[in-house]
Symmetry: C2
């Protein structure tokens, strides 16, 4: 059955900017999004920042006919903000919550409360198994002084791990979402090189949308132009990525983005531009051996050396994060110790008049209690911070360990060491028995 | 190549009970464990409760010759306690942290601080790809009144999800660890039915160990016999599970456990018994179509009805957990509101003499500050608890949503609705195109 079956799939992705009371015209925009999705009837709709479950339920009702299958991924305090709507039956879902996602005390950035994650849904599209991923990584608030960079790199690392390990049985893989990374950013290179995922904007045969595929543009009325500096025209941080398998070839037929406005509407759908990609999947048959080899082979085999460089770069970034987290934990410990010392000092000062049986002036009672309350507040806060930074350190160390292992494994590959491939069975005597 | 290659693998699993200062003879026991592992030379060693990284490093040095490859999984505040040592190269590792894992304020139980997780390592054993999992679920402190049951059920649910979705490319799957569940417990049935994993104790051709395969036994000198009641002889909560694939048949040749003591040693390795299983893997070739069908088919297809019952039971348990978490969050909110009311009342009482310009007796200053400090402490604590319970609720709701989806999907299967199988391509017109 060579190239007999061709299936076409339209994928939509949008960061909905659904923060009630903070995002402008939230309800009206959701109504607009619902109308458009109902009309456009994309096969797969991947939404981010649907922070309120009520909005998800609103869309679910609105799209009941066009997209009968949907899933809302719950995580963190507010939720993950991730939702998927599909024309095709969703057979299974799975959520991976990133181990690092900002700091709870940076409440004005809010990322920590969102419980950023990657959601997976397994669909059956025309008899093919499609693993569809939707994700939203930690925002970049300052490009020059990006204190969240190690967190975002670890998120990208975990994302590529999750996609690689869970897509073993898939015929096609589709990933959409707001990666909060420019096309050549470290995390993006890590993700694409490791997984072999292809960028629909770069691969498309036909493109209609913003210049350079930008998805956060100066023309969008919801955008504060100052925040885009030094990228005056805008940045590209939203993506639809895809790859096929040994059985299915996938190509991007066309791709489009909105352009900062919606015809006949007073404002755009969101502060981000919406992405639509049309993917064409063609099944083909291969001989058993070739298929085995292809399916087990790392898609990145061809550029292992480049991958070693990227992982090494990521490891350096994680080490910077480790250094920062260690310093923060040290600071928290030091302040905690100072709080404890202050409490001891206070108790000692208060004890002196008591021991001197009234010959000394007593410690003013009000000041005593106020100071004690301050000390306890310092101790409680620093204790919580210590626990939080310890967890951050463990996650960073874990990622660094995995990266070291990965570099080692890749270097073995470069040296020509045979890696896990089932066809090795025939070439080599069984290791297990030999070593018993 | 029918039944040409046979590889044998010896797998070891032990909960090391490595809590320094609390566990008895911790250092001596690690030395004993190291000596034994060095001598026995198992192919794969799966350890749990290695809480201190120093102990892992001690074992790593000791096993440098016998087990040159190892990985320590970091997570949570203390760590996940999970470690793997292997004679075969570890190509990749991945960690999934369970979304629910007890409560931080239950510090005497300590599970929350451990960051319970499932660690995966991909090995190449005699040319076969082995996905090896090591895990440790939340402990059961009281069987009659087990407030952690919903958490453990969600952990088992996430574990089966993780194993199923990540083992797509594996030739064999091995899972070892302390599941903290009896053989017929809900979580255990959920895990085994969904993944198709087989219990080496039940499958073994030859067994040498404790009666009924018990792994927490009354004869072990570290065990408090009162805690085992009503299971006087002990319980079986540690497992080595395995399954093959469409290409490899796996069988358990022999299995053994320690029996509460170690010959020529003053005490056993741990409060748990150690498990050793010898697995025999035989590669075989199948026709392409049969392989495709087997690899894509759910191992549980045969007993879908049973699976529906199990998932429904699990869903009920998760709903109980949801109800509890909602009640706890409501209690926290109520106490918080009471703290706020108390603060307002205090401020009002203090304001009266001030407004009456000295005609009323003033609020004693010390009492004022003490009461205010108490109010703030209540507000801060209930705020943190509110956030924690909200996160718990989100995770429970997420699991419940997935379970509802799973039951729906299984029921469709029962009704004979065609599920995702690549060979459907030939039988049906491509859905995607028809719906465009």
């Amino acid at each position: 059955m060579a190239n007999t079956d061709a299936v076409s799939v339209r994928v939509f992705s949008l960061n909905c900017w659904g923060i009630h009371y903070l995002s402008k015209h939230c309800c009206q925009r959701y109504a607009m999004i619902g109308d458009m999705l109902c009309k456009e009837e994309h096969d797969i709709v991947l939404l981010q920042e649907v922070w309120s479950e009520k909005d998800y339920i609103f869309l679910k009702k609105k799209l009941a006919c066009s997209h009968p299958h949907s899933h809302y991924f719950k995580s963190g305090v507010i939720g993950s903000g991730l939702a998927i709507f599909s024309k095709h039956r969703i057979h299974d879902t799975f959520l991976y919550r990133y181990s690092l996602n900002g700091y709870p005390y940076m409440a004005h950035h809010g990322d920590w409360f969102g419980g950023k994650a990657v959601g997976m849904a397994i669909l059956n599209i025309g008899g093919l198994i499609a693993n569809v991923y939707v994700t939203h990584l930690h925002a970049e608030y300052s490009r020059e002084n990006d204190s969240y960079l190690p967190h975002r790199v670890v998120q990208a690392w975990e994302l590529q791990h999750f996609v690689r390990h869970t897509s073993g049985g898939a015929d096609i893989v589709i990933l959409g979402g707001d990666l909060n990374m420019h096309p050549q950013d470290l995390g993006n290179r890590l993700l694409r090189s490791y997984t072999g995922l292809r960028d629909s904007y770069l691969e498309t045969a036909k493109f209609d949308g913003c210049e350079n595929g930008l998805t956060l543009i100066a023309e969008n009325p919801f955008i504060n132009k100052k925040e885009l500096v030094p990228f005056e025209k805008g940045i590209r941080i939203d993506y639809i990525l895809f790859k096929g398998s040994s059985k299915v070839d996938v190509s991007c037929v066309s791709m489009s983005t909105t352009k900062g406005f919606v015809p006949d509407q007073p404002f755009p759908y969101s502060d981000h531009e919406a992405l639509t990609a049309e993917l064409r999947m063609e099944s083909h048959a291969l001989t058993e051996t070739v298929r085995d080899m292809q399916s087990k082979q790392d898609p990145a085999t061809g550029n292992v050396a480049e991958l070693v460089d990227i992982v090494t770069e990521a490891r350096t970034e994680v080490k910077v994060g480790l250094h920062c987290a260690e310093r923060m934990r040290y600071t928290a410990t030091r302040i905690g110790v100072m709080g404890l010392a202050l409490l001891c000092l206070e108790l000692a000062i208060a004890a002196v008049p008591w021991l001197a049986m009234g010959t000394e002036q007593p410690f003013p009672r009000t000041s005593f209690y106020l100071l004690a309350a301050l000390c306890f507040a310092i101790l409680a806060t620093t204790f919580l911070l210590y626990i939080f930074y310890t967890m951050e350190l463990k996650s960073l160390q874990g990622a660094e360990d995995q990266m070291r292992l990965a570099v080692g494994s890749l270097q073995e590959k470069l040296r020509g060491f045979p890696l896990a491939q089932p066809n090795n069975v025939q070439q080599r005597p069984p290791e297990g028995e030999a070593e018993q």
